[in-house]
């Protein structure tokens, strides 16, 4: 498929251009570009623990990114991963702290389930508004994200605040060690298996089930899908539910994995980066896995860089933003060219 190859090539090119532009800006601002980029290599791959750290950051990106891919398949721009991720983590925390005496596997399972349900609910509300009233989901999912962040803030600063905490930012108590599924590196066989399993399941769902094909039809032309007897509303609701469930799951993994507690405003961009991950991954499952690892590495490097250069941490976020910007522009441009500005919107 030459068309497919072309799209991959042009995406890689865009990422390359983003690197160049970032380098240019850094150079103009007087930093030593060589040092910075060698720092990026170290921080994402070669330094001790860097590769593990890259994977650790890739995991939530991948889970939430899968949700974005699912959303796009049916024509929805569900960008509320951040809030869904937060409420997922919060629900898992509430269950865990509320039942800290319980048997570890059962508590973790219940906590994870709670996280999935919370994320799902957080996504389903905008989803319902979308299929019922045609409310633009970009806006509603985004707003729900802000509310999710406030929920996290309330819990960590209020009822679940660790009273003996000393840091400047409010944080919850730690969950008992027995409930952790990874050490503080955030990577373990369990988690890798889980994430790998999710990727495979999502791929099967999208590419090898009738429901997945129905989602594709709805995403391409909802009017035709309705004429063919596809229940467009149901497809929409299930779609939002799945996206939210995955983001909620990512929240649970974060809590039981690397975090062990919740801090106000932790991982503040992961939900939005996941959208970029999905776009860079060309909205395919395989591509999103690759893109997640790439952006996980970048995140790891961002945390590592201040150690080896005098670069302030936000400077590399620039690279992030650059990629996000270019990829989004390209995506929108392709869409506009294909369908014209007034493309049909899937409403029930």
């Amino acid at each position: 498929m030459t068309g497919g190859l072309q799209r991959v090539a042009s995406t890689i090119l865009l990422v390359g251009v983003s690197f160049l532009l970032t380098a240019l800006i850094l150079w103009v601002s007087g930093y030593r570009v060589g040092d910075v980029f060698s720092g990026v290599i170290q921080g994402s791959m070669t330094a001790t623990g860097a590769a593990t750290s890259s994977i650790r950051w890739a995991i939530p990106l991948l889970l939430i990114g899968m949700g974005v891919v699912i959303g796009f398949r049916a024509g929805f721009f569900n960008i509320g991963g951040q809030g869904q991720f937060y409420v997922g983590a919060c629900s898992a925390l509430v269950v865990t702290l509320g039942w800290r005496g319980g048997p570890a596997p059962l508590v973790v399972l219940c906590g994870t389930l709670a996280a999935v349900i919370a994320g799902l609910t957080w996504s389903l509300l905008p989803g319902y508004l979308r299929v019922r009233f045609g409310t633009d989901e970009v806006l509603t999912t985004l707003m729900m994200s802000f509310i999710g962040a406030l929920v996290l803030q309330y819990l960590t600063a209020g009822p679940l605040r660790n009273p003996s905490g000393t840091g400047q930012t409010a944080a919850s108590e730690r969950i008992p060690e027995a409930f952790r599924i990874t050490d503080s590196s955030g990577v373990s066989a369990t988690v890798l298996l889980l994430v790998g399993g999710v990727a495979v399941l999502v791929w099967l769902l999208l590419e090898r089930t009738r429901f997945g094909l129905a989602m594709t039809l709805v995403g391409r032309n909802p009017t035709m899908a309705r004429w063919q007897g596809v229940d467009v509303r149901r497809v929409g609701l299930v779609n939002f539910a799945l996206s939210g469930a995955l983001a909620g799951l990512a929240g649970a993994v974060e809590l039981y994995g690397p975090a062990g507690r919740l801090v106000t405003g932790f991982s503040p961009e992961v939900g939005f980066t996941a959208v970029v991950v999905a776009l860079v991954g060309l909205l395919s499952v395989g591509g999103t896995v690759v893109a997640a690892v790439f952006f996980g590495g970048l995140q790891s490097a961002i945390l590592f860089l201040p150690i080896v250069t005098d670069l302030p941490p936000p400077a590399l976020v620039l690279l992030h933003g650059m990629v996000a910007f270019l990829v989004t522009v390209k995506f929108r441009a392709v869409r506009l060219r294909r369908t014209g500005p007034a493309s049909e919107a899937p409403t029930g």
């Binding site: 039809l217 391409r220 035709m224 004429w227 007034a342």
Partner: protein, 517 residues
């Protein structure tokens, strides 16, 4: 033969192309096409679905760059694929699909899309209307300028496409299947328009399927077959009908065989589709239904005649389950489905050929195989495992499309790459497949070439003979009379008359215009 033309351009063909070639993958859309069109005449272009007519028009209009060959318009060479150059040379085009933006008013749409010189970035409404008043004089006058495109009847929309094309004083006008959507009266009016344009010295190239229409309007005719120009341009007086249809179909063509569709067993004894006092709300385009009573028995074709915009769309949508019924009930095979979702109706054997094939019938950006397989997504599941084999889906889709002789390159190509008639064939291949009990077909032969049209008609009769019920909605009276066991006339959302063979054209026509109750 003398060629009537203005002295200045005598001898120079209005359009000249030399050995044009265009390929899409393995499909050869055009192959070594060379053509001279004399100025000031009406030239018809005919050929089977997928023969390359639209592609040729696009290449001449600069909308598609040819792989080989060149195009001259009024003696000037046009760089390959240069729309502006083609326009500047005086060429304008009316596409196979309507291209005016539906949510705009007529005046806005014209100002936006017609290349009329002297435009300004800002207008007051009155100024805008003054600017376009004269152009729409023939199609309803100034009043029509503030109507939204989507609220116009098809005939007016069609005329408007011509107005738009002619706005920049085009000297050459190309029309791709302009008659496909029109009623016979509207077709006559269209031809009259074309003749008048010819009087003014405009050169016209028109793509047509019906030889009757070719004979009625054209001065010369050219035939494309499998991308090659096999005849023409010849004077109409020089070619017999027989020679023309031979050229279109070609020597090697096997006749299309009718698809063997078995209606599901147990279908013989009953009323398959019944509407009892069904009413629905009016839409933007159409009156709602006002208490429709109608039934289709097994082994029967019921025709619905009517001037477009009298509730036909509502009727089809209500049966499909896409428009809510406000009163009355809909029965499929004796079961009340008034409140049933579309999927349940589909599973009961309802098959639909919708009016708007490009938005309702296919998903333009989805691959062919998925378009073809769409109904398989909602059927009852036979296996436990939810996983499906795409290979099998694709293979089956290919088999069924081949039965209908859809012309395509690969099953993975998007449906938008099909020619107009092939889109219709794709839809038919999906809907007229086993499992069918009731077929509701809106304009099933629209845009089809001659052999495909007779193929569809034979298939509909085959369905009837196998015990299926067919509701045929069409604005083509000949088609209705030829196929239907009964014809009902819809007017203002009501069934106002019923007829049985032998049909009287006058009486049916009167009922269609509401002159008779």
């Amino acid at each position: 033969m003398t060629v009537p033309s203005s002295p200045a351009s005598a001898g120079v063909p209005a359009v000249r192309c030399r050995s044009l070639g265009v390929s899409f993958g393995s499909v050869r859309a055009l192959h070594r096409v060379s053509l001279d069109l004399a100025p000031g005449r009406i030239h018809a272009l005919v050929g089977q679905n997928g023969a390359g007519k639209t592609t040729l028009a696009k290449v001449l209009g600069g909308l598609q760059a040819p792989d080989t060959g060149d195009v001259h318009i009024a003696g000037r060479e046009i760089p390959p694929g240069d729309v502006r150059a083609a326009r500047a040379a005086g060429l304008a085009m009316v596409h196979q699909h309507f291209s005016l933006p539906p949510s705009f008013t007529v005046a806005e749409a014209l100002e936006l899309t017609a290349a009329r010189p002297g435009g300004r970035p800002l207008y007051r409404r009155n100024e805008l209307h003054r600017r376009w008043r004269d152009d729409v004089a023939e199609i309803g006058g100034e009043a029509v300028l503030s109507t939204r495109i989507r609220d116009l009847p098809v005939e007016t929309r069609q005329s408007l496409e011509i107005v738009r094309a002619m706005a920049a004083d085009a000297r050459i006008l190309m029309l791709d299947e302009p008659t496909a959507l029109l009623t016979p009266a509207a077709i006559d009016a269209l031809f009259e328009r074309l003749r008048r344009l010819r009087e003014d010295g405009v050169t016209i190239l028109v793509v047509l399927h019906k030889l009757r229409e070719v004979a009625a309007v054209a001065d010369t005719v050219s035939v494309l077959r499998d991308g090659e120009l096999v005849l023409g341009p010849n004077e109409m007086s020089e070619v017999s009908q027989g020679r023309l249809s031979d050229a279109i179909v070609g020597p090697a063509s096997q006749a299309d065989r009718a698809v063997g569709v078995e209606a599901a067993p147990g279908a013989e004894q009953q009323t398959l589709l019944e509407l009892a006092r069904v009413s629905s709300r009016a839409s933007a385009f159409e009156p709602g239904l006002g208490g429709i009573d109608l039934s289709v028995e097994a082994g029967e074709i019921v025709g619905i005649a009517g001037v477009e915009g009298n509730g036909q769309r509502s009727l089809v949508s209500v049966i499909a389950g896409l428009n809510a019924v406000t009163e009355g009930s809909v029965l499929l095979g004796g079961t009340d489905v008034t409140r049933a979702p579309p999927a349940r109706r589909r599973r009961r054997g309802l098959r639909l050929v919708p009016f708007d094939r490009n938005s309702e019938g296919i998903s333009r950006r989805a691959p062919l195989w998925l378009n073809q397989s769409a109904l398989r997504l909602i059927g009852r599941r036979r296996r436990r495992l939810p996983l499906i084999s795409l290979r099998q889906y694709k293979r089956q889709a290919a088999t069924e499309m081949d039965q209908w002789r859809v012309r395509y390159d690969a099953v993975t190509q998007p449906a938008e790459s099909l020619s107009g008639g092939n889109v219709q064939r794709l839809i038919l291949s999906r809907e007229l497949a086993p499992g069918l009990q009731v077929l509701v077909a809106a304009q099933p032969t629209r845009g089809l070439d001659f052999s495909a049209t007779s193929f569809v008609r034979r298939s509909l009769r085959g369905l009837r003979d196998a015990g299926a019920g067919v509701l045929l909605v069409s604005s083509d009276l000949d088609e209705l009379f030829e196929l239907s066991d009964r014809v009902l006339v819809i007017y203002g959302g009501r069934i106002v008359a019923g007829f049985e063979a032998p049909y009287e054209r006058r009486a049916v026509g009167d009922a269609m215009t509401g002159a008779r109750r």
